[in-house]
């Protein structure tokens, strides 16, 4: 059995989640604090992947990244990057596609944190960064965990976006969901079942862990 698509899937999910964590913490911090007029616009953009069909996103990525267009050819010429039909392109697309799954829990967590905690830290002379790292983030651990796991799981479950801009290049863009689709088309149900079963079980375990840890079950288990 070819494990390649499964490994690629989890590589993609891991890289995407790591990048998302770095982007989402500052973004969520900004969203939960700002009174700026552009906030609703940014919030809308972040949430768009929730409602848009993945094929729409994929289609626009395809157009934007295409070397035939300005942005794509700029990347190609000056940075030597080709984002269409490449792993790197998949990462970029996945980051945007899973953004709301990471930003929303962290933003909710931060908004739910009593303001006085932050203020107490400022009054003690601590900078915004130190307050973020030592007071705010440690107190929304469960929100961050939820974000990480949802983003990871959502990237694992990605299909439409990948299909549009990644195609199915083995070892490069052929992730498990694509592999399943192809095996079914080829009437190779045993292989399709194998990929499906592995995804099913792993996704189940991941989500179960989130709910158990947020419900405090894990802590009881460890102690």
């Amino acid at each position: 059995m070819d494990w390649g698509p499964l490994i690629l899937t989890f590589q993609l999910a891991a890289v995407t989640t790591a990048i998302l964590l770095f982007i989402s913490v500052p973004l969520a911090f900004w969203l939960s604090n700002t009174r700026s007029k552009v906030k609703p616009v940014i919030e809308t953009l972040v949430s768009m992947p929730l409602v848009l069909p993945p094929t729409v996103l994929g289609f626009y990525f395809l157009i934007a990244f295409s070397p035939a267009n300005a942005f794509g050819s700029f990347l190609d010429q000056y940075l030597g990057l080709s984002l269409v039909f490449s792993f790197f392109g998949l990462v970029i697309a996945s980051v945007i596609y899973s953004l709301p799954f990471m930003v929303h829990p962290i933003q909710t967590g931060m908004a739910g944190l009593p303001k006085s905690l932050t203020e107490a830290s400022y009054v003690m002379g601590k900078s915004k960064l130190e307050t973020l790292l030592r007071v705010q983030l440690p107190n929304i651990k469960s929100s961050i965990l939820t974000g990480v796991i949802l983003a990871f799981a959502h990237t694992v479950g990605e299909f439409g976006v990948v299909l549009m801009i990644g195609g199915s290049i083995p070892g490069e863009t052929k992730v498990a969901s694509i592999a399943i689709y192809e095996e079914v088309e080829a009437l190779n149900y045993a292989a399709a079942n194998f990929y499906s079963m592995v995804l099913f079980i792993i996704t189940f375990i991941i989500l179960l862990l989130v709910y158990m840890s947020n419900g405090g079950y894990l802590k009881r288990f460890w102690k």
């Binding site: 006085s116 203020e119 107490a120 830290s121 009054v123 003690m124």
Partner: protein
């Protein structure tokens, strides 16, 4: 000397309110802001701490300008070195009691102050506990101690004791007075409790609807003045003793101990340690020269 001139249009549940106050505070004073809720007391504290920006005004502390709307100076809270005790205590749940205090240490500050404070407010047995497991009174002790770790010149307390029961409240008042004196603080407290104010503060600012209604010593502000009392002294109850049908209350006025006769009805809400006013009307004192 601390000079405050604050002006801000506040939007509250009861509509807009014009907050406009102007007062001075001497170093080492214990000031209470008193007044009904929504009078703007918390806003005043927040503006002093730098957590809220006035529309216009001036805050200067020992000739250092913290806020000046004309010169566009607004020192951020980090630079003001103020101790603040928040109404909800604001203890960091991810740290133990001791870690909460340690967090407040400034760069290069001696750690000794932590042990000293833990001793003063008797937190020794609780220092490795999480704040989540503490009672209200315990949390408040941690919050007060934590506010003093950074050795602030000014301590701000937003109704720190209102949620606690009477016995704990009295104990915490003692801690507060103790800390106020031993750390040479200028303290600004918000309180609704008149007896607490008499016990703690030497200056009261009574606010209403965003402006100062009255200010002065607690007696000047609260005791309906001029009961034709010619003699009037503030003191502290040291002892209450029942003798037959009357009570004898021993009061310390400045450094003199006096005994005052009282009736049962006067004694009922008096406790040892209470600040009281001893006044007398219509009597004929004896006066004589003291020969050196």
């Amino acid at each position: 000397m601390m000079k405050l001139k604050l002006h801000k249009l506040l939007h509250s549940t009861g509509g807009e309110m014009d907050l406009s106050v102007n007062f001075n505070i001497r170093e080492g004073q214990f000031i209470t802001l008193f007044g009904e809720s929504g009078a703007g007391k918390t806003s005043v504290l927040r503006m002093i701490a730098g957590l809220m920006e006035p529309d216009e005004g001036l805050i200067s502390v020992h000739d250092q300008i913290w806020y000046d709307s004309e010169k566009k100076i607004n020192l951020n809270p980090q630079k003001r070195n103020i101790g603040v005790v928040f109404q909800d205590y604001a203890l960091f749940p991810n740290m133990t009691v001791r870690e909460n205090l340690q967090f407040a240490l400034q760069k290069g500050q001696n750690h000794k102050v932590i042990n000293e404070l833990i001793e003063i407010v008797e937190l020794g047995s609780l220092e490795s506990r999480s704040p989540l497991t503490l009672s209200g009174g315990q949390k408040q002790r941690v919050a007060i101690a934590r506010a003093i770790v950074q050795r602030p010149k000014i301590l701000l307390l937003d109704e720190p004791l209102s949620a606690l029961d009477a016995k704990i409240r009295i104990k915490l008042q003692d801690y507060l007075l103790d800390l106020h004196r031993s750390f040479g603080l200028t303290t600004i407290l918000i309180s609704h409790d008149v007896s607490e104010i008499f016990k703690l503060s030497d200056h009261v600012i009574k606010m209403k609807q965003g402006s100062i209604l009255k200010q002065g010593s607690p007696t000047e502000v609260f005791i309906n003045q001029e009961i034709s009392g010619k003699f009037k002294f503030a003191g502290e109850v040291l002892h209450i003793e029942k003798q037959e049908v009357i009570y004898v209350i021993t009061v310390m006025i400045q450094s003199t101990i006096v005994k005052v006769v009282a009736q049962e009805s006067e004694v009922t809400d008096l406790h040892i340690g209470d600040r009281v006013m001893v006044a007398s009307k219509a009597f004929n004192p004896i006066i004589y020269r003291i020969d050196a």
